[in-house]
């Protein structure tokens, strides 16, 4: 049996599941950015708190992903629907690289540049928006890149709780001991991850070369 058999026979199903997968990852990383950006800026101002917050977020990664998906069944509202659980779990995983890189990116801005801006009379908000964030952007995008690739991979496990996505084909293939089915889920997931990695890497490179 050829590995590509299932993929070629059911292109529409693979396409639909790929779209599901992309939306799971997109929403999750989106939430992680919305939370991680302001939180990362806030902790970059307070190094003592930064260590505690990064440690706490890091500890999420210690929980095996399959178990994390399972734990969320108990959470009210979230546990009602599988996609909600999947999105929350993926957001939590994506948060660490984003938070860490926002913080590191801002702390990595040349202190002389920040001090010049402050000495010239920029307010904290102006300094952040016009100097610190633009100069940290390359590092921040690097964090988003890691988060996206991570979420695409872990996202396949979301199918175990019925949240859909490409993992569905993989789990079905595992249950039926059907390599072609597993491959139909794994190949698109790998292509997605590769595409996200390359395109975000290109953006990151462009942003970094300005500095």
């Amino acid at each position: 049996m050829n590995l590509l058999d299932y993929l070629l026979a059911h292109p529409r199903e693979v396409f639909t599941l790929s779209m599901e997968h992309i939306s799971l990852v997109g929403i999750s990383v989106g939430i992680a950015i919305l939370v991680g950006l302001p939180l990362g800026v806030a902790i970059s101002r307070r190094p003592a708190i930064a260590r505690a917050v990064l440690g706490a977020v890091n500890s999420i990664h210690v929980v095996p992903s399959l178990a994390l998906f399972g734990f969320l069944f108990a959470v009210p509202w979230i546990g009602d629907r599988a996609p909600r659980m999947a999105i929350l779990a993926l957001s939590l995983y994506a948060l660490l690289p984003i938070l860490r890189n926002v913080c590191a990116g801002i702390l990595g801005v040349d202190p002389a540049v920040v001090e010049a801006g402050r000495g010239l009379g920029l307010t904290d908000a102006q300094l952040l928006r016009r100097v610190e964030l633009p100069l940290a952007l390359g590092v921040i995008v690097a964090g988003i890149r890691v988060a996206v690739v991570l979420a695409i991979g872990i996202g396949t496990i979301a199918a175990a709780i019925g949240a859909g996505g490409l993992g569905e084909l993989i789990f079905r293939g595992l249950a039926m001991v059907n390599d072609s089915l597993i491959f139909a889920g794994a190949l698109p997931a790998a292509v997605l991850a590769l595409f996200a990695d390359l395109s975000l890497g290109w953006i990151e490179g462009r942003l970094r070369e300005r500095v």
Binding site: A112, V113, E115, A116, G119, L120, G121, L122, R210
Partner: protein, 266 residues
């Protein structure tokens, strides 16, 4: 105490000390007055407290004891943002915003002050001409400029809002000697024209003698003496004498490394 603002010195430091919590005392009971329109040089070796003194003036630091008056008003009563925009600030070339073009570096403060774009552009052009920058450089990034050009951008940026006071921390520090002398000369002429109050930090005696109407000699966080350039050359104060001999030795020796300086000052 001066009652009218017109006779108040641009900056008056009264008995100011600064020691960060848990750190060493960086400044000890410093008193200094800078008259309006005068260039004062803070001269001293690394760690003598000259940069700390400069940062007290625009409230990047607040004194832990004593007080500062800016144009007769306590610095603590000034809004720090307004105070800083009232004083230009130029430091070694590292302070330029690397992601902004020359034009945006110089025009940043006017832009955040809400100037219309056309007025900002005009001001930038005017400033670039003033500091001797070719207009074609406007769209370049700092990394595409020579050291001398970057310093000029730094000075132009500090002058953007036409502040009456200019604070400069080793503005010509990172330059080769020839470019440095060139810029010092140009800055001297610029200063004659603009008549601003300038406080300039340097460890270079030649720069101090060339640009300063007054030289405040700092040592270990204290004011060791206040001189005019002519007085500085005549005084028998051992520290001033040490400075003079260090620089004379350097100049006479031609190729002699300036490493001797530190030793002679001990």
């Amino acid at each position: 105490m001066a009652s009218a603002a017109s006779v108040a010195p641009a900056i008056a430091i009264r008995d100011a000390s600064y020691h960060p919590p848990g750190g060493p005392t960086l400044l000890q009971s410093l008193s200094l007055e800078i008259a309006t329109g005068v260039t004062l040089v803070l001269l001293g070796r690394s760690g003598s407290g000259k940069t700390t003194t400069l940062k007290l003036m625009n409230r990047l630091l607040d004194p832990t004891a004593g007080e500062l008056l800016v144009e007769g008003r306590p610095a603590r009563d000034w809004d720090p943002i307004r105070l800083r925009r009232h004083m230009g600030y130029a430091i070694q070339d590292v302070g330029l915003f690397p992601h902004y073009t020359v034009e945006r570096n110089i025009g940043l403060l006017p832009a955040v002050e809400g100037w219309p774009a056309t007025r900002t552009r005009e001001r930038v052009r005017e400033l670039m001409a003033l500091v001797g920058l070719d207009a074609t450089l406007a769209t370049r990034y700092p990394r595409e400029l020579s050291g001398g050009q970057r310093q000029r951008v730094g000075v132009a940026r500090a002058l953007a809002l036409d502040p009456p006071i200019l604070l400069m921390d080793e503005p010509f520090g990172a330059l080769d000697p020839l470019t440095r002398a060139e810029l010092q000369g140009e800055f001297y002429r610029l200063q004659q024209r603009l008549g601003k109050t300038v406080v300039l930090v340097t460890h270079d005696l030649r720069e101090a003698l060339l640009l300063g109407a007054q030289i405040a000699l700092l040592e270990s966080g204290r004011l060791a003496g206040l001189y005019t350039p002519a007085e500085f050359l005549r005084t028998h104060d051992p520290l001033a004498v040490a400075y003079r001999s260090a620089f004379t030795a350097k100049n006479d020796g031609g190729t002699r490394p300036p490493a001797a300086r530190a030793g002679e000052l001990q």
